[in-house]
């Protein structure tokens, strides 16, 4: 992970040598002359972007692990139950209406809009998937409802970008493909709070999530309050995924693949998976970002395109190799 971080801060539209990086970092110290243009590119664009990338990757990885543990199904990703499309819709709504309604443009308003979108869509999926007879949502029902609600919110995003003015429409398009260009230190702070807080909180519930692996009834018999656990874990997931999505847009497949790779190599214990998926998610997304920046230099690809293009074949080969029972 450190190696990828190092590569990620060195290479890009402008490459930096190790000594450039040192001098840029040193220029931060008090009493030194003002930073040069290159140094400022490094400090204000490259560095926060690298950190944001790590944090978002960690969020998606942890979110994926949590959702898979909660639904006891290895093919769930955070986006499948509507969280990320809802968050993207929330941010699209903010782009289009925020300016018109004169809603504050602080660093918090975008993630709040995305969070609300993510929560609303996740709740919608749950409410619609709940069958009348049983109070338990069946997995197939949940996934199919998620598909439908995703489609609904995607059409909502489409509608919003259709009625939006040009710059807004472009922001929305970028959002639905995923981009890290919005990185700044303020953004890094916000995402760091949700990612690190969410991951630490999730770790406290790892033992209960482990019990859930053998079934909801069984977890109940082991003393786990399954209903409460579901709500807590869902809330953690919605917050970390919605906040990450709000700043970067929809980045697919990271949340799906990371727990898979970890399970194949190290087992299914959720304590290990949560920590591991934070680290591996961060590493993989940084690699993807590096690829996105270097492949069409000096321009760059939206990162969601890279993760999907690389992730799909990896996912398919993992599926064919492993013995998962669905």
């Amino acid at each position: 992970m450190l190696a990828v971080l190092a590569a990620s801060i060195r290479y890009g539209a402008v490459d930096f040598s190790i000594s450039d990086i040192w001098s840029a970092l040193i220029s931060l110290l008090p009493g030194k002359p003002d930073a040069t243009l290159d140094q400022r590119i490094f400090l204000e664009l490259r560095l926060p972007r690298a950190f944001l990338c790590l944090l978002v990757g960690a969020s998606l990885g942890v979110g994926g692990t949590l959702m898979q543990a909660l639904f006891r199904n290895p093919i769930v990703e955070p986006g499948l139950i509507g969280t990320s499309s809802g968050a993207a819709f929330g941010s699209a709504l903010y782009f289009v209406l925020g300016g018109a309604l004169q809603i504050g443009t602080s660093v918090w308003s975008l993630p709040i809009a995305a969070c609300i979108g993510g929560i609303v869509s996740t709740y919608l999926v749950f409410a619609l998937a709940r069958s009348r007879e049983e109070s338990r949502s069946s997995i197939a029902m949940l996934l199919l409802t998620g598909l439908a609600v995703n489609a609904l919110f995607m059409s909502g995003i489409g509608f919003l970008s259709y009625i939006a003015r040009d710059p807004q429409a472009r922001s929305i398009t970028f959002w639905s493909l995923g981009t890290l260009t919005g990185a700044s230190w303020a953004v890094v702070k916000v995402v760091a709070i949700s990612t690190i807080g969410g991951t630490l909180l999730a770790l406290r519930y790892a033992k209960q999530l482990n019990a859930l692996m053998i079934g909801e009834e069984e977890a109940n018999y082991l003393g786990v309050n399954v209903k409460r656990l579901k709500w807590i874990v869902l809330t953690i997931n919605v917050v970390i995924v919605a906040v990450a999505t709000a700043f970067t847009g929809v980045i697919s497949f990271v949340g799906l693949i990371v727990p898979h790779i970890l399970r194949i190599s190290g087992g299914a214990d959720n304590r290990y998976l949560i920590v591991g998926s934070a680290l591996l998610g961060a590493t993989l997304l940084s690699l993807a970002d590096l690829l996105a920046r270097l492949s069409v230099r000096p321009a760059e690809l939206p990162i969601g395109i890279v993760t999907a293009a690389v992730g799909v074949p990896v996912f398919l080969s993992l599926l064919r190799r492993s013995r998962y029972v669905f």
Partner: protein, 279 residues
């Protein structure tokens, strides 16, 4: 002591069990029999506190099960359910150790590992402790789960959490529930299993309640048999008193023939009743 007082549980106005009352004492093995859909599993789930009856109350030592702390309860109440599917690749050892979940903090300690070892030896599954649970056969899975359930209730003689005075004077009873535990087991493992249950149930601080389909095994191993039909408790008592030709005929709709076998064991052969006889 476990007591059900006039419990009724319904789903969308259909009563799955209605007005069932029963008392279960430690040191005895209670087996519930009855035709499909009689409410046996629902009764076990209600007794175990997974679902709560709309009316009536389930009491553990006089305390309403609803008022008990769920982790505290999980340390002395375990349930073996039917066919457990795990969506993730867990090893046999991990599944068995899972039974210690209510006992350990964030991770299993040496005592938990020791108990898991002991249970795996008891159920003859040590040689595949590293195998993925998903690749096991139904019978192997059942043994793994029984090992897990007993690990959950196991008191090691050197358990530091049980001080001398509590274990002698006020040891809380333990409760074991078995929901059709013999499914998937071959005949040898069925007998092994019933023996293990019998031994466990003989402990003076253990209340054991199970659901069984095989009337012969029920007659052979139970201290008391409870017959359920249409959500009601039809009869309960010692196997010899309860499993009579008349009761079996009216509840199961089969004609039993009693075959005397060696020893005190009851042996039943069945034939389908003529439909006229049933109604």
């Amino acid at each position: 002591m476990l007591e059900a007082k006039n419990i009724t549980f319904s789903v969308s106005k259909k009563a799955l069990i209605s007005d069932v009352s029963a008392v279960f004492s430690p040191g005895k093995l209670y087996l519930i029999v009855g035709p499909n859909g009689a409410g046996k599993s629902t009764l076990v789930k209600t007794l175990a506190g997974l679902i709560h009856p709309q009316s009536g109350v389930v009491e553990y030592e006089g305390e309403d099960v609803k008022s008990l702390n769920s982790v505290e309860l999980a340390r002395r109440r375990a349930v073996l359910s039917q066919a457990i599917e795990i969506a993730f690749p867990l090893t046999v050892r991990e599944v068995v150790t899972m039974g210690r979940n209510p006992h350990f903090g964030s991770r299993p300690g040496p005592l938990d590992e020791k108990i898991a070892d002991e249970m795996m030896r008891l159920f003859d599954i040590r040689e595949f402790e590293d195998r993925n649970y998903q690749t096991l056969s139904g019978g192997e899975r059942q043994r793994v789960n029984f090992a897990r359930i007993l690990a959950q209730l196991w008191h090691s003689p050197h358990d530091p959490t049980r001080t001398a005075e509590t274990s002698v004077t006020r040891s809380p009873n333990r409760y074991l529930f078995l929901d059709e535990p013999l499914t998937f087991l071959d005949i040898r493992h069925q007998i092994d299993f019933m023996r293990t249950v019998r031994d466990f149930a003989d402990q003076t601080d253990v209340v054991t309640v199970g659901v069984l389909h095989d009337l012969n095994l029920a007659a052979r191993y139970a201290d008391e048999v409870l017959i359920m039909n249409n959500g009601r408790l039809e009869a309960s008592g010692s196997p010899g008193n309860v499993l009579t030709a008349a009761t079996i005929r009216s509840v199961f709709g089969v004609e039993p023939t009693f075959v005397s076998a060696e020893g005190p064991n009851l042996h039943l052969l069945f034939d389908r009743c003529n439909s006229d006889d049933v109604i």
